[in-house]
């Protein structure tokens, strides 16, 4: 049961809107102040990744983010419509995915400037309390969650 859903076209500016909404709702849902920075960053990463993927593959398609509180957790799901296969392809066009992070050798492994998607996922994985990534032919879905107050939205 998503209680708030945001749909936006693949523009970088809208990633800010998504961050703003996620942080505001996380706060209201009772996510601890100390975790709000992590929510802002992780949601921003997931949406940036989706925007970059859409700009390459399907700039006209919208990106969807659902936010809900369910049994004491604040849950965010970001869904894009860029085919996952093509995304691997995009990596191959650059210098391979920046998967292995090992010291100073790293810089040369990294894709030029953009498409830091591998990093994005690493950041999300490190920041979200719980993450699940569902790749599919139709796009990628990232579900993240954090502990929230048990009462959640309903409290007035």
């Amino acid at each position: 049961m998503a209680t708030v859903e945001l749909t936006f076209s693949a523009l970088p500016a809208h990633v800010r809107t998504a961050r703003l909404v996620a942080t505001a709702i996380a706060r209201r849902t009772g996510v601890a102040e100390a975790l709000l920075d992590e929510v802002r960053l992780a949601v921003g990463e997931a949406c940036s990744r989706a925007v970059e993927a859409h700009r390459v593959h399907c700039p006209g398609e919208p990106i969807r983010i659902e936010l809900c509180d369910e049994s004491g957790r604040f849950e965010v799901t970001v869904t894009d419509s860029a085919p996952s296969d093509d995304l691997d392809q995009a990596y191959n066009d650059e210098e391979g995915p920046p998967a292995a992070v090992n010291g100073t050798a790293l810089a040369s492994l990294l894709p030029a400037d953009t498409l830091m998607s591998g990093f994005g996922i690493a950041v999300i994985a490190a920041l979200a309390d719980d993450v699940e990534v569902y790749p599919s032919a139709k796009g990628l879905r990232i579900r993240m969650s954090w502990p929230a107050a048990a009462t959640g939205f309903a409290t007035a």
Binding site: P12, A13, V15, R16, D37, R40, L41, G44, E45, S48, V51, E52, V101, N102, G103, T104, L106, A107, S108, L110, P111, A112, D113, T114, L115, M116, F119, G120, A122, V123, A126, L127
Partner: protein, 116 residues
């Protein structure tokens, strides 16, 4: 919350002052500035992150891109950062091992002076 960029050169070291949010929306402007500085022959860059409120992986990508460019000219790209929330992002991604990170512009300048 938008990005403000400024820079000046002191004794072969170009100090880039960054203020605001470096994200998917503003990172292109930082990238352009770094490319422009390198194209104009500034190969020793010090990016002051003390006034950065927010940094995401797009911003990291731009910094790494800058580092690769200056290294191609035997240059350096180092950072000033003491903010825990920003340092954390470098740590998570293993980039603390890639960038020299200093606690102040002065400290970075001294270290840079010794290297020469």
């Amino acid at each position: 919350m938008d990005l403000k960029l400024d820079h000046h050169t002191e004794d072969r070291l170009t100090i880039v002052e960054v203020e605001g949010e470096i994200d998917v929306y503003t990172a292109p402007r930082l990238r352009e500035l770094l490319i422009d500085l390198v194209n104009k022959g500034n190969f020793h860059l010090l990016v002051n992150m003390e006034k950065v409120d927010f940094l995401d992986s797009t911003g990291l990508g731009v910094l790494v891109g800058g580092l690769k460019r200056v290294r191609a000219h035997d240059g350096s790209l180092e950072l000033v950062c003491t903010q825990e929330r920003i340092l954390k992002i470098f740590r998570i991604t293993g980039l603390t091992k890639v960038f020299g990170i200093y606690a102040s512009v002065e400290e970075a300048k001294e270290a840079h002076g010794r290297d020469k």
